[in-house]
């Protein structure tokens, strides 16, 4: 039976998020002081050795990311917190920021010290103006207490563009431009915000940093799956009993998440599918529920851990209808910069609409599969590359649902 383990959410419900005294009394900002007593390299090595990998979806070693910025000399460097949580079904970053904003600020300040950056930005999605208020209050308190030292943090608001979750699109948006992804390389670690070395990490990644500094890399490395250690914050939605947030070690299984913590399918109905990682995640059938939720195990079954969104669908769900809706989402959110995504998402939606209305044929299925393969390989950024995922995984795992709709 799965048991919750709160590392990121260690202060959830225990402190008043709007009182810095509460956070400090719970041991807050001690890790930042500790980090400043170490050399920059020692801090980076501690994070690197902990094995912490990015919690935004890409799963890159966080300490490694920091080392790129550290190793690039510049007159100004930046730390950016990606709080543009836009994956449908995801609300974990909101929960973290609403309940423990200072742990995010502390994580950013530790990163700032480690890489030599004096300025941080939190890019928070425009749909969360109430979270922006919490963050600004927390920053004001931290400045008044002097805990951040020479590290300055400013909140910038997104404005409803899913693509801005992609780190280079996010940087474009902070600079005041349309949120269109950049070509990589150079990566932001070397040339990011205003061309300066920039570390971009997710809210949940930063929230892990203070406790790693406090308890050490070895402690963290011992939790969860060896190659993706630590915990993951999951948010449940759809036809599940407990539509809520919880945090589990990464060696738990999908079944632990859906049927353990999630309490199973709502209304006594049977399980049909679960989509994990947000709306770009793969659709997982019952036969794969015993897969571990860590990054690599999920990839091995053609699924993703992604943002940790868990969207459960019961036996009455019309999967093809859901897939049509998802393809509409990507058509809407494609920024239009690269052709395979701009045209691909549009055509994908068109074909799925046709199939869902009962007018599709076997030829449509074949072309959908081919289009999906092209997009996965040819799109400029993660949005377009991941967009066909739900279509391709349902074609693989739920083919009878398509066949039943063909005209």
């Amino acid at each position: 039976m799965a048991e919750e383990m709160r590392i990121v959410l260690r202060n959830y419900g225990k402190i008043d998020p709007l009182k810095i005294e509460d956070y400090i009394n719970a041991g807050g900002y001690k890790s930042l002081a500790k980090a400043r007593g170490l050399s920059q390299i020692q801090v980076i090595d501690e994070v690197k050795n902990s094995g912490l990998r990015g919690r935004g979806g890409a799963g890159f070693n966080a300490g490694m990311k920091w080392s790129f910025s550290y190793n690039t000399p510049a007159d100004q460097k930046y730390v950016v917190c990606n709080a543009d949580e836009g994956e449908p079904g995801t609300y974990k970053d909101r929960i973290i920021m609403e309940n423990d904003p200072h742990t995010v600020l502390e994580g950013m300040a530790i990163c700032g010290y480690a890489v030599g950056a004096t300025k941080g930005y939190i890019y928070c999605r425009g749909e969360y103006p109430y979270v922006v208020d919490v963050l600004n209050k927390a920053i004001t308190q931290a400045k008044a207490q002097g805990v951040l030292g020479d590290f300055d943090i400013e909140v910038r608001m997104g404005a409803g563009a899913y693509v801005c979750g992609e780190e280079t699109a996010l940087l474009e948006s902070i600079e005041g431009h349309r949120g269109e992804p950049r070509f990589k390389p150079p990566f932001p670690g070397v040339a990011g915000l205003w061309g300066k070395p920039t570390v971009v990490n997710n809210v949940e990644t930063f929230a892990n940093i203070p406790i790693i500094l406090e308890k050490g890399a070895d402690w963290f490395k011992g939790i969860g799956a060896p190659k993706y250690p630590g915990t993951k914050v999951f948010t449940l939605t759809g036809d599940v009993v407990n539509k809520t947030v919880f945090e589990l070690p990464t060696n738990m299984t999908i079944r632990d998440v859906v049927f353990g913590m999630g309490g199973g399918v709502a209304g006594g109905k049977k399980f049909k599918a679960v989509q994990i990682g947000g709306t770009s995640g793969g659709f997982i059938p019952e036969s794969m529920l015993d897969t571990q939720v860590d990054f690599d195990s999920m990839n091995a079954i053609g699924a993703t851990l992604g943002s940790g969104a868990v969207f459960v669908m019961d036996e009455t769900t019309d999967l093809i209808d859901v897939i049509e809706r998802i393809t509409k989402f990507f058509e809407h959110e494609s920024c239009g910069k690269c052709t395979p995504c701009r045209e691909g998402t549009k055509r994908m939606h068109e074909i799925l609409k046709k199939i869902n209305s009962g007018k599709g044929s076997g030829a449509d299925i074949a072309i959908t599969e081919r289009l999906g393969q092209v997009m996965t390989r040819a799109c400029l950024c993660g949005l377009g590359q991941a967009a066909p995922g739900p279509v391709l995984t349902t074609l693989k795992n739920f083919r009878p649902d398509y066949n039943a709709k063909l005209g």
Partner: protein, 147 residues
Amino acid sequence: MADYKEIISAYKDLPGGIIEAYHAIQKEYSYIPEDAVVAAAQAFDISKARAYGVATFYSYLKVGKRGKNVIRICESAPCHVAGADKVVAALEKELGIKMGETTEDGKFTLEFTECVGQCQATPLITINSKPYGDVTTEKIPGIIAEY
């Protein structure tokens, strides 16, 4: 109501501040007046095309008049399966307008949105960004009456 020129000038020295300026204007007006885009272009020293390009790229920003209270209905997959279509029908009936339209008295505008990150309580709407979760047909008149 604060003049949009004053709002813009408060942000013009902020690096990349045009989006923050647009947010501030929209908070005051509930939309971005066309002329404010031109004024922003001048203040931030960019072309009108670029200022307009930024304002129209982001779905949270709206150039041109709309209602005082903006009701947005989430249509992302979790809300979709939870019955967002019923919420749409009920709101259209209650306000006597279709999605994308504004009531005659200028009080309400109905819009679709993608996920707003409150998926523990689907289906969901927001009014001026305030979320209302687990929305049912029965709850709608009460919610509307708050405005």
